[in-house]
C-alpha cells in the first residue's frame, strides 16, 4: 500500500488555489445603454489615444479601471469596443480552453481504458482514511461523507496557509513548495506512469534509457513551468501534470468518496472564489492589487503574446513595448514588468522575432487570454476518468460527461465575459457532469442497450 508522506501535502495545494477561472484583466462591465452617437465621437478620440497607448493598452485598462482614474469618454468608447472584442475573443478563447481540457481528458480516459493499474484498488490516501468496504449502504455513505469532510478540510487548510504565505510575501517558501510539488509530479509520478504503461504493453526498457528519458522530461518540465519556455510546451507540460494528478486521484479515491468529493469541492470552489473572504478570492485580489500574476505553476494560460511594435511607426507606441521586450530579455520575474498577466507569459518564452501587426485590435486580441486553474483540469479529468472507469464499460457515459463538462465550461466563460472577474470554473461543469453521469449510467444506458440489441435507431 502506498501512502503519501506529509510532505506531499504539497500535492493537495494544486487542488485548492488552482480552481479559479479568471480573465486576464478586469475592466468593468460596459453599459450598453450609453448613447451610440456619443460613443462615435469618443471612439475617434479613443482610437487616437489607443494607438498612442501601444501594447500596454490592456495594462492601462486593467490598472486604470482598478484605480478608477481613466478618462470617462475613453472608458465608454473602450468599453463598447471591448465588449465586442470580448465576445469575439470570447468564442476564440472558449476554444482555446476546450482544446487543452479535451486533451487532458483524452489522456486520462485513454490511460484508464488501457492501463489497468489505475483502476485497481491498491489502498487509499491518508486523506481518506475510512474504508468503503462495509456491507451496509448507510455505513458506506457515512464513510464517504467523512472522507469528504477530511479531504475538504485538508484542502481548506492548505489554501488558507498558501494565502497567508502570499499575503505576508513569503515568496521563497511558496516557490520552494511549488518546486517540490512539481518535482514530485514530473519525476516520481511520471516514472510510475511510464512503468505502468510499459508493463501494459509489455515493452522492455533498460534503466539507463529510463533514466535519460525521465531526466530529460522532468528537467525540461521544471524549466518550462517555473522559468521560461515555449508557450505550447509549457501548456503541454501543464496538461500532462494535470492528467497525472487526476490519475492519482482516480486510483486512490474510493468510489463513493470520489463522487461526494467532486460535489463538495465544487461547492467549496464556489464559496472560495465568490465570497468576500474566500481564500481564493483574496489570493486573486491580492495578486491583482500588487499587479503580479498568480504563480505560473498553478494556472494554465491560453494567451498568445506578441510583445512587438505595430505597423505604424509610433515612437510612443514603441516605448512601452520596448519596456516589455526588455523585461522579457532580462528574464526577471513579474515584479518589475508592466505586470500584465500576459506580459508574464512573454518572459517565459524565448524571444520571438518582431512581426508587424496591422492593428491595435489584433494586438490586443492576441494578448488577452483566459486563464484556467490547474485544479479545474484535474477535477474535470477525475470526473470523466471515473466515468470511464466505473460506468460498466460504457462509452456513452464518458461521452455524455465530456459534453456536459464542455458545455459547463462554455457557460462559465460566458459568465466570465459578462462579469469580467475571477469566477469558479468547477461548479457548473461538475454539476452538469455529475447529473449526466448518474442519469446516463442509470437511465440512458439501459435504453440504448435495448435499442442496440434490436438494432433500432432513434
Amino acid at each position: 500500500m502506498i501512502t503519501f508522506m506529509n510532505n506531499s501535502d504539497s500535492e493537495e495545494e494544486p487542488c485548492n488555489e488552482r480552481t479559479s477561472l479568471m480573465s486576464a484583466e478586469s475592466p468593468p462591465v460596459p453599459s450598453y445603454q450609453d448613447g451610440l452617437q456619443a460613443s462615435e465621437a469618443a471612439e475617434a478620440q479613443a482610437h487616437r489615444k489607443r494607438r498612442a497607448g501601444s501594447s500596454c493598452g490592456p495594462n492601462n485598462i486593467a490598472a486604470g479601471e482598478r484605480s478608477g482614474s481613466s478618462v470617462p469618454v475613453r472608458e465608454i468608447a473602450l468599453e463598447n469596443e471591448e465588449e465586442e472584442l470580448t465576445l469575439k475573443y470570447g468564442a476564440k478563447h472558449v476554444i482555446m480552453l476546450f482544446v487543452p481540457v479535451t486533451l487532458c481528458m483524452i489522456v486520462v480516459v485513454a490511460t484508464i481504458k488501457s492501463v489497468r493499474f489505475y483502476t485497481e484498488k491498491n489502498g487509499q490516501l491518508i486523506y481518506t482514511p475510512f474504508s468503503e468496504d462495509t456491507p451496509s449502504v448507510g455505513q458506506r455513505l457515512l464513510n464517504s461523507v467523512l472522507n469528504t469532510i477530511i479531504m475538504i478540510s485538508v484542502i481548506i487548510v492548505m489554501t488558507v496557509f498558501l494565502v497567508l504565505l502570499y499575503k505576508y510575501r513569503c515568496y521563497k517558501f511558496i516557490h520552494g513548495w511549488l518546486i517540490l510539488s512539481s518535482l514530485m509530479l514530473l519525476f516520481l509520478f511520471t516514472y510510475i506512469y511510464l512503468g505502468e504503461v510499459l508493463k501494459t504493453y509489455n515493452v522492455a526498457m533498460d534503466y539507463p534509457t529510463l533514466f535519460i528519458v525521465i531526466w530529460n522530461f522532468g528537467a525540461v518540465g521544471m524549466i518550462c513551468i517555473h522559468w521560461k519556455g515555449p508557450l505550447q510546451l509549457q501548456q503541454a507540460y501543464l496538461i500532462m501534470i494535470s492528467a497525472l494528478m487526476a490519475l492519482v486521484f482516480i486510483k486512490y479515491l474510493p468510489e463513493w468518496s470520489a463522487w461526494v468529493i467532486l460535489g463538495a469541492i465544487s461547492i467549496y470552489d464556489l464559496m472560495a472564489v465568490l465570497c468576500p473572504k474566500g481564500p481564493l478570492r483574496m489570493l486573486v485580489e491580492t495578486a491583482q492589487e500588487r499587479n503580479e500574476p498568480i504563480f505560473p505553476a498553478l494556472i494554465y494560460s491560453s494567451a498568445m503574446m506578441w510583445t512587438v511594435g505595430m505597423a505604424k511607426p509610433d515612437t510612443a507606441a514603441r516605448g512601452p513595448s520596448q519596456q516589455t521586450w526588455d523585461a522579457a530579455e532580462d528574464g526577471r520575474e513579474h515584479l518589475q514588468s508592466p505586470s500584465h498577466a500576459e506580459s508574464q507569459m512573454s518572459e517565459r518564452r524565448s524571444p520571438v522575432p518582431s512581426r508587424p501587426i496591422t492593428s491595435l485590435e489584433e494586438l490586443e486580441e492576441e494578448e488577452r487570454g483566459v486563464k484556467l486553474g490547474l485544479g479545474d483540469f484535474i477535477f474535470y479529468s477525475v470526473l470523466v476518468g471515473k466515468a470511464a472507469a466505473t460506468a460498466s464499460g460504457d462509452w456513452n457515459t464518458t461521452l455524455a460527461c465530456f459534453v456536459a463538462i464542455l458545455i459547463g465550461l462554455c457557460l462559465t466563460l460566458l459568465l466570465l465575459a459578462v462579469f469580467k472577474k475571477a469566477l469558479p470554473a468547477l461548479p457548473i461543469s461538475i454539476t452538469f457532469g455529475l447529473i449526466f453521469y448518474f442519469s446516463t449510467d442509470n437511465l440512458v444506458r439501459p435504453f440504448m442497450d435495448t435499442l442496440a440489441s434490436h438494432q433500432l435507431y432513434i
Binding site: E40, R48, E83, F98, S359, E361, S439, T440, Q455, L456
Partner: protein, 345 residues
Amino acid sequence: MTLAVFFGCTFIAFGPAFGLFLFTIARDPLRIIILIAGAFFWLVSLLLSSLIWFIAVKASDPQDERLQKGLLIFGVMFSVLLQEAFRFLYYKLLRKAIEGLVALSEDGCSPISIQQMAYVAGVGFGLMSGAFSMINLLADALGPGTVGIHGDSQLYFLTSAFMTMVLIFLHTFWGILFFHGCEHRRWWEIAAVVIMHLTVSGSSFCNPLYVGSLVPSYLLMAAAAVWAYLLSGDLHRTCGASCSVYGVEPAPSQDPEALQDVPVPIHPYPPLSSWRQDRPSPSLQYLFPGLGDPGQPWRGRRWSAVAARPVWLRLAHSNAPLGSRKTSQFWGTRLCWPCRELSPS
C-alpha cells in the same frame, strides 16, 4: 473481430461527418461552440426520453414480451418527437443568440447567419446521435467475438455503420429544413422533418431485414439533401444574381493619427430579403441612408471605427477594391439581420 472491422466501421460511420467538421466547422470557434451546444441539446432530449421509457418499463411487468416491445416502440417514437422538440428549442436559443451577437457587433451584422447555424446545429445533433449509436459497437468490435454466431445477422457492424452515417447526414439536412421552416413559419416543412424522422426510426424496426431500413433511409436522405440544397442554393442563386455591392465608403476620418494606410474593404450588404420573403423587410434606404449611391460617404453608426475594425472582420471579405461590384459568397457573407435597433441617423 478485427482491427479492419473497427477502422472500416469507424470511417464509414464518421468519415463524412468528420470531413464536414474539418472543412466547415473546425476553423470557426463560434461554430464549434454551436456544434457542442447542439450535441448537448440532443443529449438532454435523449435523457428525458430515456427517463420516460425507464419509468414506463419499471412500472410494467418485465415478463410480458409484447408489452415490453410496445413500450420500446413508444419509447422510440417519443424520443424522436422529443428530439424534434429540442431542435425547436435550440432554434429559439440560436435566434436569441443571433440577436445578442448583432447587438454586440460593430456594424449591426451577426458574424454567423441562421442558415449556417442551422447547418452546424444539424451536424451537432447528428454527431451526438451517431456517437451514441456507434461508439459502444466500435469498442466491442475491438474485442474478441464472432458476429451473428447465434443466428443473428452477420452484417451487424456494417449495417450499423451505414445506418449511423445516414442518420448523421439526415440530422444535418433536417436541421437546415427545420430552421428554414421555423424562420418562414412554414409549418409543413417542420411537419415533413418530423414525419421523415419518424419514418426513418420506424423503418429501423425492419432490422435485420436491412433492405427495409437502409434503402428507405438512403432515399429519404437523398430527398432531404436535394431539398436542403435547393433551400440554401436558391438563396445563393438569388443572392449571387441580384446582389450588388453597395459601394459605401467610410467617412474620411478627421483624425490625423488615423491609420490611413489600411485599406478599408467594402462591406457587402446582400439583400435582406433572402430568407424573409414573406415578411415585410425593412427598407434598406431606411436603415442605410444615402445607400444607393456608391461613393457617397455613409453616415451609419460607428462608421468612424471601421478603419480600426478587428482583423476577423476584414478577413471575412476578400480583397475587393473600393467601389467594385462583387457577388457575395454564401459562406463568406455576413448576412445582415434586419437591424431594428439601428437608428437612421
